[in-house]
Each structure stands twice: as C-alpha cells, then as structure tokens.
Symmetry: C2
Subunit: 349 residues, 2 copies
C-alpha cells in the first residue's frame, strides 16, 4: 500500500512541466507535415484557429504526455525516450479524436468546433491519417536497440484503439435489455481497448526505449491501463453530470445521445425498476428532450449508477497504485504519478 | 542494358502465383480484425459482397504484393519476409484507397461500390484505420534483427502517402494557368509520393527484413519508385482513354472531374493554343458535359499529351530496368520483375 504523504508538486504543475518538456518536440514533429494537414493538426492541438491565427488555448489536458514523461523518469531514464514516447502518444491520441469525431458526428470538442466541422469531412480524414502516420514515424525514428519492441507495442495499441472504437459504435445499435444487451464486462473490455490501451502504452514506450526490465514495464503497462479505465469512468460521469461551462459539452450530453455508458449500464444492472424506466426513456427512437434527459439522469443516480461508477474509478486507481508499488521506481516521479492519478479522479473537465 | 529474351513465365501468371503465395497470410491478418472492420476490409479486397456473401471477384491487380514477393526472391531470401512485406503493403494500399475514396467522393471502384458508398462514411473511416493499424502491426510483428529498419521505412512511406494525397487534393483548387498553376515537376513530386513511395516500399521491405545489402536495397527502392511513376502515368492515361468496360470508371472520367493529370498538364505545356482551349473547358465551374469531355480529350491528344505521358511511363520503366541491372539479383525473379514492368505499361485496367 502506498503511504502517500503528499507530492513534491501538485498535479496541475506536473501537467504544466511535462507539457513544457514535450511541446517543442511535438511542435517540431507537426511542423514537418504538409501545410494543409499541419494547419488542421495545429488546430486540433489548440495552437491556432481554423484560419491559422495562433491561439493561447490550453488544448487538451495532456494526461498522456505527462504519463509518458513521468513513467520514463520513474525508471531513471534520460528525458529523450520519454519525450519521443510522449510525442508519439499525443499524435496517436489526437488522430483518434479527429477520426472519432467524424464517426460520431460530434461537432464540438474543447469549447471549439471539431476538425471535420471546421474543415470538412474529407480534410479531417486526411488530418487524422497524417497524425497517425507521424505518430508511427516519430517512434520508429526514436530508434535505438529497443526501437522495434516499442513500435510493436504502439502497433498493438493501434489495433486495440480501432477494435474499441468499433465496439463502441456497435454498442449504439444494440438493445438496452434482452439477450443482445451490452453487459458491464463487455463495456469494460471496450473501455480497456479504447482508453486503457493508449494510457498503458504511454507509460510503457519510454521505459521500453530506455531498456527498462520487463517486470517494470509490465507493472507500468498495467498501471496505465487501470488509469485508463478510471479515466473513462470519470469521462462517463462528466458526460452526464459534468458542468457544460467546464466540459464544453451540453448538459446530460451522453444521455441525450443515448450512449451506453457505465453509469447507465450499472443503474440497469442494480435496479430492475430503474432498468424498465430507462429502457423506456432511452430505447425510444425519438430525440431525447431536456426533461427526459434530466429524468434519466435522476433515475441513474437514484439507482446507484453514479456511485457505482465513481467507486469503479477509485478501485482502478487503487489497482494502479498497487502496480506502482510492486516495482522499484524513482521516488519523486512515482509520487507525481500518484498525485496525477488522484487528480484524474477529481477532475471536472 | 537488360538483354531480355523472354520471361520464364508471363506477367498474369506471375501475378496469380504471387497472389496465391500471399493471400492465405493476408486473409489470416484480416481475420484478426474486429468483425465490423473485417467485413469492410474483406469487401474492399473483393472477397465478399457488402452483406458478407463470399465472392470470387478478382479484387485488385495485386501489383504491390507481386513486387514484394519478387523483390524478396530476387535477393535470394526465403519466402517469409516477402510475404510479411506483401501483406503489410497490400493492407496499407487498401487503407489509402478506402480513405481516398472518402476524400474524393468516388462512388465506384473495381466495378462495385466504394466502401463509404456501401457502408457509410464513418464506418469507412474506421475500416481504413483498421487496415492502417493492421499493416503496421503485421510488419512490426515480422520482427527479426532488421524489423526496426523495415518499420521505419514503412513509416516514412505512410508520411509520403499522406503528403501526396494532400497535394493531389490541393491541386484541384489551383488554377490551370498563371503563377499558381501546377507544373509538371510538381505533379511528378506528388505522384512519386502518392504512388511511387509505396511501390518502392513494396520492393524494399522483404529484402530489408532478410538483411539484403544496402546498395541492393537502394537499387530496388529506386526501381519501385520508377515503376510507381510509370504506373501512375498509365493510370492517368486510363483515366481519360480507358475503356469503361474494363476500368469500371465512366469514359473520360478524370476530365469530367477536371482532375489535373499528366496528359492534360503536358498538353498545356506543349501547345499554348491547346492550353487556352483546355483552360476554357476545364476551368469553368459547371459540370463538364460528355461532349466537352470528348472535346477536351481530343485536344489533349492532338497537343501531344497522350504520347508525352506514354513516353514518360516508358522512360520510367527503362530507368527501373537500369536499377535492376545495376545490382546482382537472382535471375528468374529479376526476369519476372522485368516482364511484370512491361505488362504494367500495356495494361488496360
């Protein structure tokens, strides 16, 4: 059990430090792209407006790059492999956001238009492809003795991402009840592929490039996957109860879209009366009204779906701590990883 | 200079032999995909209809897989690295077709609906991503001492493909004349990235995996790039003068779409009167009528654009022969490469 007396620094300052470490290399990588996908990539990182005007927007939270940097520090390796890993993982993450927004038809992300909304569907497909290719190129170019193993791991993660997204899309067309319904184990397997795999990869690539011992790599990988599951659970909570002013998404957004997320699946599993009500509300083909979305959110909460999901997230973070405790890591970096993990549970955005 | 007395076999039988060598591994790789992208991938390889019913359709010509197998045989290596290279390259090629059809809005390919037309845009984006990821995974999994170098080369090719496609898309919005017009050198640079890079990669990956000497790899790479330029030139000819019954595309298809292809750019460079006529016909924003497309094709031919392009293709194939002659290769495989190259010049589909 981690006895955790307080970090040498807070999670927001860790995120800022890691961003400052990674951003020059990330910008240099994006700079190598053809001007058209470069513009779209810069837009999706929050570096410019759609017309190319530089912005000081925060972009994403930068969780993946921070995990890549911290995990590499935690094995006592120099900064370079961590930066290469972070750049590759941020590029692949952004590729998946850009393409997922096309597939899901989402128009807003991080308080601005999505790439397809701002530039068109065809260009957004190209921008995603460019980010994908650049991510693989970056890691393949990091080279060294362990380059092949790192690229192999990234390739496996790419397969997981696609598989998870395919499941997530299919879940939408499946029933809420009956034999074809989506169960919680199946939901977790999807979330592990769609979110867990890339966080596990983020915490592994730098250490692999640096030649860390296999048991250490395995522990960091599992810690990352667990943090990914926790991250997805919190995302699911924010998708229903998040504040639109901070999330940038409409209130009850996932319920309006009838998305099969953990809080709803848990509520239905925990309470058969709630399940009947929710199936009636969410199973209808008509658009969900604000009142119905509010009613559904109250039913999910009363049935225990919100608390179940929060508890699930906590459980995964605890499991991640256990993984970090199971191997010998550099203490300062490990403490920052722990603080960042706790922060991920409490995030509002 | 290649003294070429006739191949031990004809190009169509070489294509069939290489297809038979590669297809089991290609099918096994596709079989590992999630069922939804697997169905779309199988459809795009011509193995099944949109509803999953198996078909005996020929799919593509299989030029890239044949080049991968033959180049590997030509360096005296065992079959395995050639098959891994062929599978990776066919997957990446098919990824690019699926996504390019989304970006270009093309509805027909190989006498059937394109993937986005048959399954929808979002699913087609996912199918392309799945093929892309699987291509990288396949090569990363081929491993061995030279796996990292092979993956690095594939990653560079992915960057080229995206860059070439971005140029090709931008060419459409650029003027036919004046300072912003697309010149022939710029067109060649685009074609080298969009088509040459992957053919060069196809002829390189197997030899690299097998540890072939760098000068041999360099010669095969250049031969493949030249064949790619020839291939693209012939594609441009078929896009205007191809028989719709064999190409599966409408007559004068590239002219109707006002595509900036080599025959048109050459005609405009060779004959200023033709340039004026063509600018008037192709520069108008209205859809091109059948009569106008036929007139444009006649102008391009009379101005010498057709012959220029055919001569360009021949020149690139001769350069490819010179590359093959510059290094020591296994004779039978080299002869098949030469016969296949000649066949690519004469193809009607």
């Amino acid at each position: 059990m981690t006895t955790y007396a307080g970090p040498r620094t807070t999670a927001p300052s860790t995120l800022a430090r890691c961003r400052a470490t990674v951003e020059p290399a990330l910008r240099a990588a994006v700079e190598s792209l053809h001007p058209q996908p470069r513009r779209m990539a810069s837009f999706s990182f929050g570096w410019c407006d759609a017309d190319g005007t530089p912005t000081a927007g925060p972009g994403g939270k930068g969780v993946r790059q921070a995990l890549a940097v911290l995990a590499t520090e935690a094995v006592g390796a120099p900064a370079e492999p961590g930066v290469a890993a972070a750049v590759a993982v941020e590029l692949i993450h952004t590729f998946s956001l850009v393409h997922d927004d096309v597939m899901d038809g989402d128009e807003r992300r991080r308080h601005r238009d999505t790439v397809w909304k701002a530039f068109g569907t065809g260009p957004a497909v190209l921008a995603g492809d460019a980010l994908f290719a650049l991510g693989v190129q970056t890691l393949a170019g990091a080279g060294g003795q362990h380059g092949a193993e790192a690229v192999g791991r990234l390739a496996g993660t790419l397969g997981d991402l696609v598989h998870g997204q395919a499941d997530d899309l299919l879940f939408e067309s499946r029933p809420w009840t009956g034999p074809g319904a989506v169960g919680i184990p199946e939901y977790r397997a999807m979330a592990d592929r769609k979110t867990g795999a890339l966080l596990g990869c983020a915490m592994t690539l730098g250490p692999v490039l640096a030649g860390a011992a296999p048991p250490v790599v395995a522990a960091l990988s599992e810690a990352g996957r667990r943090l990914g599951l926790a991250f997805q659970a919190v995302d699911d909570l924010l998708g229903i109860w998040g504040d639109p002013r901070t999330t940038g998404k409409p209130v009850h957004s996932d319920l309006r879209r009838r998305k099969k997320t953990l809080p709803v699946l848990a509520a239905m599993a925990l309470d058969s009366t709630a399940a009947e009500h929710l199936t009636r509300l969410l199973g209808s083909p008509e658009p969900l009204s604000s009142a119905d979305a509010a009613a559904a959110s109250a039913i999910v909460e009363a049935a225990g779906g919100r608390e179940f999901t929060m508890e699930d997230a906590r459980r995964h973070v605890t499991a991640a701590y256990d993984c970090l405790d199971s191997v010998r890591l550099v203490e300062g970096a490990r403490d920052e990883l722990v603080a960042l993990s706790a922060y991920l549970l409490e995030r509002r955005v």
